[in-house]
Symmetry: C2
Subunit: 319 residues, 2 copies
């Protein structure tokens, strides 16, 4: 199969692409290295079945030309702003890097008659739901960050394209995905900052924010299972675990993994229940739709988090 992957140098894609190549797929990756990392992509570039194209997906002409030439069987559309608080400072960041880019991907697919898209959405689309764990059919959807607004906009574009142009779609609303090749997020930040200064850690909010953390290996298993099994025109699933991990737990486990004595680290909290203004502080996603489809994650949130901390400490120690 020919598979096109957007955000190819990013966290999810650099974990996905080796799997696709092992499957025997021919993979076409695109990234502009705004958030993606050359060092994560480098090992893939040597593979003869992997073809990398460096450009910005806002360039519709270039994207449409590439998709028309390649005619992939499927698009894994994984590129996004993953640094949510950044989108509060630069208010057009998610609009351009999320919504407009997703339109460009769908429009290029329509023109070239590419018929399958797998999309990484987020549980953030539910805003601050009154029902927790939150099921997929929860309403109203009132996002509180521009990141979440963009994910909701992308989902709407995907469902409209599915209906009007027969593009089959798989939308996965992620919990917090963690694992090797992180580009952002609390584990990434804690490990990097403590490596720089092992005596001080600033924590956004009060540390009680708690979310379901999913290891990227489970995440990819789930997406691949979902794609193989769910066959509606629009398939949408929460992809999460049932337990939550708090920022304070991540702090403690990171200290332990780095061999730091908590007494030696001055911890400063910025305060308030949220990490930042558009942060959804408490997230629980209902995973029963995915379970009913026949898939459950292998690792709990605690297991995923601890493994990802270990992987991140090891990976950043090599730098």
């Amino acid at each position: 199969m020919k598979i096109l992957v957007t955000g190819a140098a990013g966290f999810i894609a650099t974990n996905l692409i080796p799997r696709l190549l092992r499957n025997g797929d021919e993979v076409f990756g695109i990234d502009n290295f705004f958030l993606g990392k050359r060092e994560y992509l480098a090992p893939l570039l040597e593979h003869p079945q992997f073809h990398f194209h460096e450009f910005d997906l806002l360039d519709l002409d270039r994207l449409a030309a590439l998709i028309a030439e390649v005619k992939p069987d499927r698009v894994w559309h994984l590129c996004a702003n993953s640094d949510i608080s950044y989108g509060t400072k630069y208010t057009d960041f998610d609009l351009k890097g999320g919504t407009l880019v997703t339109y460009n991907v769908l429009e290029s697919m329509r023109r070239a008659e590419v018929k399958e898209i797998i999309f990484s959405s987020s549980g953030a689309v539910y805003g601050e739901p009154t029902v927790m764990p939150t099921p997929e059919d929860y309403g109203p959807m009132l996002p509180i960050s521009l990141y979440a607004a963009s994910k909701l906009a992308c989902e709407g574009l995907i469902t409209a394209y599915a209906h009007n142009y027969d593009i089959r779609s798989w939308i996965f609303r992620f919990g917090n995905i963690v694992g090797p090749n992180p580009t952002h997020g609390v584990i990434h930040d804690f490990v990097l900052r403590l490596k720089d200064d092992p005596t001080y850690l600033k924590i956004l909010g009060d540390g009680t924010q708690a979310k379901p953390y999913v290891h990227v290996e489970d995440c990819l298993d789930g997406m691949m299972f979902g794609h193989a099994t769910a066959r509606a025109m629009v398939n949408y699933y929460n992809l999460a675990v049932t337990d939550q991990t708090s920022v304070n737990e991540i702090k403690e486990w990171t200290f332990a993994a780095m061999g730091l004595d908590p007494k030696d680290v001055k911890v400063e909290y910025t305060g308030g229940s949220r990490g930042w203004r558009g942060d959804v502080a408490q997230v629980k996603l209902d995973t029963r739709k995915m379970t009913a489809l026949g898939w459950t994650p292998k690792m709990s949130s605690a297991e995923s988090t601890k493994r990802a901390i270990r992987e991140t400490v090891e990976q950043f120690a090599r730098r």
Copy 2:
């Protein structure tokens, strides 16, 4: 009060602006005349309290400069593509004229610290709901047209701006609004086409499509009542009536209003249950949230439709 109105030459705005001027407001209108009509705007231009600016809202710099200069107390953001099937042919039409323009409006408001927005959304955001009448908290929201996808994207931008930048918002999800100064829609189309050729009428779909039709006077009453009464940061309401009117009923009532004998008109149906591929053929919106707030429309769907047909026939006869 200083009020800024987008889509100032359009259907809703040209009915709204006379009310605002009668209230003593100073009104600043913007339109690019892509769908708005100069003839509908003309009578307003003579009013000393009305200031009209002709430009495209995609021009963020110009919009931001105007809003910074005027510092309106409130924005009625009414501009949109109202010709839904058009958005299927030109796939970036709703993205640009809906989503990007709404971002520009919100961003200009944020920069100038304008704190209130009233937005004309649509019941189309619910896609093809399994619950009818459909309440405001219905999920999942899976739009089936690019028009609806854009309305959903606009709502998400508005709720994110409300949360992050304290912009109070009123989102009204309309049924089909009808009345004087139409720019589009089934009544507009039937009257114009029968005026051109009273012996032939083409009907999209099979004519059984049925929706709640709301007269624009009721619509404006409801929006003004909602704005005055609902005071959350994000206020979202269906604005509709409880009965439905079918396209076939509109056909019959239009014949009657134009003095045509049905036997003299050859009616041709394009067939299928939908008017076009992204059309939601059966719409019923739950109006209980608006009723609980204290407001109900004066006219039923049948009354609204008959009155609007009469108004449209009279208005177009003068052309």
